[in-house]
């Protein structure tokens, strides 16, 4: 009997053109928080998907509590008390919290002793209780569609707990959370560990690992590099091991040189589908050579601002001027032409056509003009040429190069592809929404560097991020949004992280 | 070389040794099993084969019901047969094939061949039409004689000449009974279903507007029953099935009169039968007759209309296949003789008479 609760031995998993896991062996002790670290596409998700029964390994063995198992399905994994909180939540948005949590193990009662029905009322009570026990309060009768991202994540965690999982896997759980929420989540995770559960945590954020993890495995290109004792390993060594080079956490930048106005937003008001005002009378200006960041807790209207500027959402009041030209009612295409690059929040349903190949996706904003096409006829060679250049320039990794179907690429690399495409447009205004979400630290560094580079070239950059660190790090000017209103606009030097946090919570305003 | 021989091998009824007459029947989408028009023609061939066992028949179905397709289907197979039987107006266009294949014989039913140039009759086409108005006349008589509510009706498909013939014949029959036997029977017409014949004239009647719309048939049937009609002559093809169903579902004492062929079997309704009798065209008999003429060498092409005088039209009077009273039967038999000898000439679409005024209506 070994002292590991989970042991993975010589796991290999291949996908067309790539070995996602290459002879990986790991042991995880009961009651520890075990972190997985690695660049985008290193094989972290794949490895954990194997453990949670989503994939079967091509080679290798798995031992749970010392017993050899073949985990054939998530159901089987659940029986072994393994539960995974996926980054892309697997929730039915039309269903209530209770319905989602109990899905698959619904409590049954019989009507007139004959007709079975799902006993929702009882389940509601149980879940309310459970959520209180773990400090994850939710209203079980609420529909998923009405929840914030962090609430949805709570539901995912509750789902796993409801199934009495002992081994909990979290795949990049913090990528979509605000700093406060992250702290809260990490607290929960520690609480779970202290309650005797075993936790596996995938994350790109070293400080999180440092904060809660006991040990940490580093993967690179499918291979296990090392397993580290977190307490004893300095952060930059972890980073170095993972990326294979020295990483700079603080972005170096020269002071900004503001030039002429590029974007001017005046009294912008936006309503959502239900007619509810999500952006209220927002005004700000971004200059050439300026990185303007909007800080705020998720769902406070910042994404809508970006969507509206890019033309995806209609304006219900106010004006948008780009380089002095009123673009309030312009088509999306015209805005792009006038000069907007846009990295959208939702890369899978907006940023990419997942069934197209990489080269096509890279040309998605330019296909219609010279040299990609002339007189309405596409020039395929130009697509390929351009694609290959971008892959090299931005280090986009995938199984089959420009011919890779984007769907099969790792999330981080999908993000890189979008960034490459948008920066390459060289628009005077660049809008970055959550540009580093799900991206490894090496790549984050690159993205930040590129943003600053573009600024220095005289571009105006609008950055929208939930990560305060990121904002403090790269922004020249910060606007803090709360409840659809800009609470404060000031230069980044004049604000402390704490102040921004207070504005974000609506606790402080002008 | 492989097609012909094996075709014969595959054919169960084919004789050994000597070559028999090779017959094909090409039909509209409903096929030779339609229990009605096509089947009756087919039976004529089968009866012929019973007496000439070396002869063979092959049934081919054209699936679209389109005219051009029907002709194409005949063209596809004409090379391999001696006689082609084509029941249905859809086949009027075979005349061009007939001209191109003078050694083949065509038996066309229900239409005249389409003219080729000026030619309207062809040596190798025997085109037969029946005097539907006579069959309709007997149906009308039967209805008028048997009705208790004194309300009867005829349901048709579309007001093409053959259907108008049935309708006018039926109305002639009703009027004849009213006049001769002093009854007061009304032929009910639903206002919304008046027919417009091919000349654009309003001919009244109950036209469903289709030959294949059972649902509308049922609507009309129900509406008629609601108006108190207790005998319906159904000359509406597939649409007629709906009328049958309406009558079967109606609990009252309502009956129908079949059309074209003996439809008694369609009338079974539990232990009862709703078919009073059927106003028919004796097609199988005539098909057989023509086939006989082919083998004995007396075949002669031409376009003919067949009347009661050759016993080609009439009604069903075999024991157990109808529910006419003795009295009705004898009155109808009387009239049959008068139709046969030309004393009574029921109105048809274009014979110049009307149901209110035709020879024989005293």
């Amino acid at each position: 009997m070994s002292d590991y609760i989970v042991e993975m031995k010589h796991i290999t998993k291949r996908f067309p053109g790539i070995v996602a896991n290459d002879d990986v062996s790991l042991g995880i002790k009961k009651g520890e928080i075990f972190a997985l670290l690695g660049e985008n596409g290193a094989g972290k998700s794949t490895l954990m998907s194997i453990l949670s029964g989503m994939y079967e390994p091509d080679e290798g063995e798995i031992y749970i509590r010392g017993e050899k198992v073949q985990i054939s399905s998530p159901n089987h994994a659940a029986k072994l008390n393994i539960g995974m909180v996926h980054q892309h939540f697997k929730l039915v948005s039309d269903y209530t919290i209770t319905e989602n949590i109990t899905l698959g193990i619904e409590p049954i009662k019989k009507f007139a002793g004959l007709f079975p029905y799902v006993d929702i009322r009882n389940a509601n009570r149980k879940i309310e209780e459970l959520s209180k026990n773990f400090g994850l309060e939710v209203d079980p009768t609420k529909k998923i569609a009405d929840l914030t991202v962090s609430m949805q994540q709570r539901v995912e965690i509750l789902k796993v707990l409801y199934r009495e999982a002992e081994i909990l896997i979290f795949d990049e759980p913090t990528a979509v959370l605000t700093p406060q929420e992250i702290d809260f989540l990490l607290g929960i995770i520690e609480g779970l560990r202290n309650g005797g559960k075993t936790i596996i945590l995938i994350t790109h954020k070293l400080e999180e690992i440092k904060k809660v993890a006991d040990r940490c495995a580093v993967l690179n290109k499918g291979k296990l590099i090392d397993v580290l004792d977190v307490k004893k390993t300095p952060v930059n060594l972890m980073a170095q091991l993972m990326v294979g080079r020295e990483v700079n956490f603080e972005s170096e930048k020269v002071p900004a040189q503001f030039k002429e106005e590029v974007l001017k937003v005046e009294h912008l008001t936006v309503k959502n589908e239900d007619g509810f005002e999500v952006v209220k009378d927002v005004s700000f200006t971004i200059h050439s050579g300026e990185i303007f960041a909007i800080a705020g807790v998720a769902d406070n209207g910042q994404v809508e601002i970006a969507d509206t500027i890019a033309g995806l959402t209609k304006v219900s009041g106010g004006k948008i001027l780009l380089e002095g030209k009123d673009i309030t009612n312009e088509s999306i295409r015209n805005r792009t032409e006038t000069g907007i690059s846009y990295i959208p929040e939702d890369r899978q349903s907006f940023g990419l056509v997942l069934d197209f190949d990489l080269s096509t996706n890279l040309a998605l904003k330019q296909y219609y003009r010279e040299p990609f096409s002339s007189k309405g006829i596409l020039n395929k060679e130009e697509f390929e040429q351009f694609g290959s250049n971008m892959i090299d320039k931005y280090d986009i990794r995938s199984g089959q190069g420009i011919k890779t179907q984007v769907r099969s690429m790792s999330g981080g690399n999908q993000q890189k592809a979008i960034i490459a495409r948008e920066i390459e447009l060289q628009s005077p205004l660049m809008i970055f929404v959550q540009p580093t979400r799900g991206v490894d630290i090496g790549a984050i560094e690159n993205i930040h560097r590129m943003m600053i580079q573009e600024r220095d070239k005289g571009k105006a950059v609008l950055l929208i991020s939930l990560e305060l660190d990121e904002i403090m790090n790269v922004a020249d000017t910060i606007g803090v949004i709360y409840n659809g209103q800009l609470q404060k606009i000031a230069s980044s030097e004049s604000l402390t992280t704490n102040e921004v946090g207070e504005y974000m919570m609506g606790a402080k305003h002008e | 070389a492989c097609g012909n021989d094996s075709a014969n091998k595959n054919e169960a009824k084919s004789g050994k040794g000597e070559e028999g007459l090779k017959i094909a029947i090409v039909t509209s989408p409903s096929g030779v099993d339609d229990g009605s028009f096509n089947e009756d023609n087919y039976n004529g061939i089968l009866n012929f084969i019973k007496k000439h066992p070396t002869a063979t028949v092959k049934a081919v179905r054209e699936e679209t019901g389109d005219l051009a397709a029907a002709v194409q289907a005949v063209a596809d197979i004409v090379a391999d047969y001696d006689v082609i039987v084509t029941p249905g107006f859809q086949f009027a266009g075979i005349s061009s094939i007939a001209v191109e294949n003078p050694d083949k014989i065509f038996i066309l039913n229900d239409s005249e061949p389409a003219p080729v140039g000026d030619q309207k009759e062809f040596d190798n086409i025997y085109a037969m039409n029946f005097a539907e108005q006579e069959s309709g006349f007997f149906a009308g008589m039967a209805a008028a004689l048997e009705t208790k509510s004194n309300k009867v009706a005829v349901v048709n498909g579309i007001a093409y000449p053959s259907n108008v013939n049935y309708q006018f014949g039926f109305e002639s029959g009703v009027n004849y009974v009213n006049k001769v036997y002093g009854k007061d029977v009304k032929s009910v017409e639903l206002s919304g279903y008046a027919g417009t014949d091919v000349t654009g004239a309003n001919v009244g009647g109950n036209y469903a507007g289709s030959f294949a719309d059972e649902a509308t048939g049922k609507v009309i049937g129900n509406a008629l029953i609601k108006q108190g009609v207790d005998i319906i002559f159904v000359a509406a093809g597939g649409t007629g099935n709906g009328v049958f169903t309406a009558v079967k579902e109606a609990k009252g004492d309502v009956k129908v009169i079949g059309c074209d062929v003996d439809q008694y079997d369609d009338g079974v309704n539990g232990s009862k039968n709703i078919v009073l009798t059927s106003g028919v065209k004796f097609m199988s008999k005539n098909v057989e007759k023509v086939l006989n003429s082919v083998v004995d060498g007396s075949f002669k092409g031409g376009n003919v209309v067949l009347y009661a005088d050759t016993e080609s039209t009439g009604f069903i009077k075999e024991e157990g296949r109808h529910q006419l009273s003795e009295d009705t039967l004898s009155k109808m038999n009387e009239a049959y003789e008068l139709v046969k000898d030309g004393t009574i000439v029921p109105a048809s679409n274009f014979n110049g008479h009307t149901p209110d005024k035709f020879p024989g209506l005293k």
């Binding site: 799902v118 | 129900n222 099935n241 169903t245």
Partner: protein
């Protein structure tokens, strides 16, 4: 006026049960354009069974109404297996599978009907003749003005459909199976992650769909002509799909859509009769249900939403 209600109901309810069949399949994520073929095949099996049993036992087909109904359900379910296997096991495009099944159903049933009539009954015929279904009237209620028509000349199957529809509603919205089924159509990955076999759920959903459609087909056969023949393929399967989309994939609104079709259809016939126009004009009134649907959809479609995963081939690896 009564006729509008009576005929309207006897058309709307079979359409409704077909549409419920469609809802089951589509709520689970499988587009079912095969309704048309399945209802025909169901009616074929129902009619064939009735005729065969009548032939073997010497019973009157008339009395085999319920036998026919039961076998039509079995038949519809059996035939729907093709759709299920194609879409679920073989990952075929669901629209195409549906269309192909329709083509196959028409070809097979016409072929088999004539073949069986010739071989088994020795009589050439392209249809199976059924006894008509007895209609009943609930005396007291039938006398209520207007509403009374609902209780007049009712086919027994109308009652059966209402009962089954109620059960279908209960199964879909109240039970474990129903919860999982609807979730499979919204987000199959969540169902899979919950340890439930999405493919099995979808398979059962398609089979239920076949069962209900088969019943619908049989009811049409009884209500229109009390025959089985290729006339059963009148496009009602497609109409049912239109109804369920109109009803936003929910049972009650779909009932409303079906009633609309039914009443517009019988109403059209009624107007045609009362306007005293030549029969050719009936065609113009026949478009009433379809035009009405399009017009209403203009107002009601905005918020319509298909099950999110409808038509998606479920593949665990894909997200």
């Amino acid at each position: 006026m009564d006729t509008i209600i009576i005929d309207g109901l006897s058309f709307a309810l079979p359409l409704f049960i077909l549409a419920i069949g469609g809802i089951y399949s589509e709520k689970s994520g499988i587009i079912n354009l095969a309704l048309e073929g399945i209802q025909g095949f169901g009616a074929f099996v129902g009619a064939l069974s009735a005729v065969l049993i009548a032939n073997a036992s010497g019973m009157d087909v008339q009395n085999l109404f319920y036998v026919a109904l039961i076998f039509s359900m079995i038949g519809g379910m059996t035939f729907s297996i093709i759709h299920a296997v194609l879409c679920i096991k073989f990952k075929a495009n669901q629209v195409i599978s549906g269309v192909v099944i329709n083509i196959l159903a028409l070809a097979l049933t016409t072929f088999l009907t004539t073949q069986i009539n010739a071989l088994v009954f020795g009589a050439a015929s392209d249809k199976f003749r059924l006894g008509v279904s007895e209609r009943f009237t609930i005396e007291g209620l039938a006398n209520i003005p207007v509403i009374g028509a609902v209780f007049t000349n009712v086919y027994p199957f109308e009652v059966i459909i209402i009962v089954i529809a109620f059960f279908a509603w209960y199964l879909l919205y109240k039970t474990r199976f129903g919860m999982r089924l609807r979730a499979s159509g919204e987000n199959p990955h969540s169902v899979d992650a919950a340890g439930v076999n999405v493919l099995k759920i979808r398979f059962s959903a398609v089979l239920i769909s076949g069962l209900l459609s088969g019943l619908g087909g049989m009811c049409f056969a009884y209500s229109i002509s009390a025959n089985f023949s290729s006339n059963i393929y009148m496009g009602y399967g497609f109409l049912a799909i239109a109804a369920l989309i109109f009803g936003n994939w929910r049972i009650l609104p779909t009932l409303a859509a079906c009633l609309l079709f039914g009443f517009a259809k019988s109403g059209g016939a009624f107007i045609a009769q009362s306007m005293a126009l030549p029969s050719s004009f009936t065609d113009l009134f026949m478009i009433l249900p379809y035009v009405l649907t399009l017009l209403l959809l203009i107002f009601f479609s905005k918020s319509n939403r298909a099950p999110r995963a409808l038509g998606e081939i479920y593949d665990k690896g894909k997200r």
